[in-house]
Symmetry: C2
Subunit: 367 residues, 2 copies
């Protein structure tokens, strides 16, 4: 990754906003700008260069990982040291990442800076740059997606009535680790039977029922980048109602994918999915947004939601994941990751979206 | 769990601080006070009662989980709805959780409240109560620790030279899931050979060497509560230097455990470990604090660190985890969870702290 290019872009952004410095406290932004992967540290961008402050326990790791930034390991709290350095510099206006600094931290910084520098809140400065992925990032995301997708096949092979949702999660996660994943990108969702109507049904101790939906939603981290996919299968033989629900969500997902192209707003993509579900009488059953950006974080800008105005650009990587949830019956969600191309989008997730029914003989396609 | 008792305690705390209301934005605090386990929501404590605000996607889950609080699912952003309700109430002084609200969120709340209520920063209000565990919480922690401890045995049985650190993590995590864990409490650390000198060496693609330390640090979540343990084993036959390093850390850990008793400060416990390592010439090699509270969160107050003043009380559950890290050679960490009793402490972690060497024939104790 070309850290000095990224830092250069950020310096331009700062200069355009008349900021002399930025305190980068959001760790994924820190990683993006200088390569540090640990859990404590602040990157100070000022005077055209970067200084990374971390705790003693990360000294060795920072020495190995941090690129294109000076390393400082202060004796006391990192944020105090950062504020003192800014106070003693020629910096007059310093930006904070307002979404990634707590009120308590801001008070601490302000107390040390006093009148020596003015604090300005910033929002999404580094995230705006991160939204458009570099080709090397798309390749990492593609590799993560492919690994993630291979786990779905393991899950389908494992699922049978009576095993717990957590045992299904165990198979997915074990296969991920064995294939080299750094970890899961978020808590694995395995929501079966009536629980499939919960959009965020984390794998529980409930046994997979003899008949009903199973929503699987999971992702891995590989090379620092996250994957995210959902598929919904049916255990047993689905009746017409289940097929209709599945087909409506599948159509909505396809409509949203077809709506993705550079120049469109994310709101238009969301509305494309919503329109299909509305026509199927499921408007009120689609209770979340259509998707989100994915990269170093599992959820990052843009949000693919009705009211959002972000414009799609080539290189953005987002999820498309409409769902429909019927309390007391069940739910369906289908999710792919796509990368925006110069003309439309490429679906990264290779897994089939046919309606799979898991029967005693194995999985069969219901069409 | 007795949520109404917990809410009653908080109301007393608010009244003592002349606060009419508190916006609880830290999700573990929300869970502690009303039982909600999802990832989005705010609990408003005001006028002697609690109201929980969440997003549409969590409506069903909140209906099932939330106890002793009214449920509100607003149309727009949750925090805006919360601020509007406070603005329209008789509340004059509202507390924020300053460590768990971003500068951007605070600005949003303040914009809606304007002059209708005064905002006051609070710190650790709910966390102070959470530090002392109820008997039912200690039992959950004990169960989590026992599950975690059983995974160490699986790891020892699995480790052999040439397998990757990640493959070791895979065995630990799979066994955890199969035993019913809701997930891991944090990213599993498997740091072998020279990497054992990294206090936070996440399991990597590096193969376990033929000779050297392997630091294992992991935990599970069970019943919502976290476990945390570290052990360091040696692959091959350890030379005298390795034995000395191990013994020094083991002695330091024992000294810290013996320093735990009600009325002592956490700083005294930290200094007890540090004194042993200093006498062994390893003062500069112990680069982190001695431990931390554990409960619904893997890291919660108190921090067991030199400069901290928190006084130990019966029912607190903390880790004791000194380590020594020699760059270019290797490192050792030994960690138990302990519960403070009325006279001293009980070590919850049942795993042996003998120095285990993993040889071709299997693990042997080096004493």
């Amino acid at each position: 990754m070309n850290y000095s290019l990224r830092q250069g872009n950020l310096l331009e952004d700062l200069s355009r906003r008349h900021l002399d410095a930025l305190l980068v406290t959001h760790l994924p932004n820190v990683r993006y700008l200088c390569g540090f992967t640990g859990s404590a540290g602040v990157l100070v961008v000022a005077d055209g260069r970067c200084t990374f402050f971390t705790e003693r326990r990360y000294r060795e790791q920072a020495r190995t990982e941090v690129q294109d930034a000076r390393l400082v390991v202060p004796k006391g709290p990192v944020l105090d040291a950062v504020a003192r350095v800014v106070a003693d510099s020629r910096v007059k206006t310093v930006g904070l990442e307002s979404e990634h600094m707590s009120v308590a931290e801001e008070a601490r910084v302000a107390r040390i800076l006093r009148s020596k520098a003015r604090v300005r809140q910033t929002r999404r400065l580094v995230e705006e740059r991160r939204m458009v992925k570099e080709p090397a990032e798309v390749e990492r995301l593609r590799a993560a997606v492919q690994l993630g997708s291979s786990l779905f096949d393991k899950a389908v092979a494992a699922i049978r009535p009576g095993m717990t949702e957590r045992a299904v999660a165990a198979e997915i996660e074990y296969a991920g680790r064995c294939a080299g994943a750094e970890g899961m990108a978020f808590e694995t969702i395995v929501a079966s039977g009536l629980r499939s109507a919960l959009p965020h049904g984390l794998a529980s101790s409930q046994p997979i029922p003899r008949r009903g939906f199973v929503v699987l939603d999971f992702g891995v981290i590989l090379g620092g980048y996250c994957s995210d996919m959902s598929r919904t299968v049916y255990v047993g033989k689905p009746a017409a109602q289940a097929r209709r629900l599945y087909q409506a969500v599948r159509d909505a997902q396809q409509a949203a994918i077809e709506a993705v192209r550079p120049g469109r707003t994310v709101g238009e993509v969301d509305r494309a999915a919503r329109a299909v579900l509305r026509r199927a009488g499921l408007a009120r059953n689609f209770t979340h947004s259509t998707g989100h950006g994915v990269g170093l974080e599992i959820h990052e800008p843009p949000r693919i939601a009705r009211e959002e105005q972000d414009v799609l650009r080539p290189g953005m990587v987002i999820t498309i994941e409409p769902g429909a949830y019927v309390p007391g019956y069940g739910g369906v969600r289908i999710e792919d990751m796509v990368v925006v191309t110069t003309t439309s989008c490429e679906v990264l997730t290779p897994t089939t979206k046919e309606f799979l029914a898991i029967q005693e003989s194995g999985p069969v396609i219901c069409s």
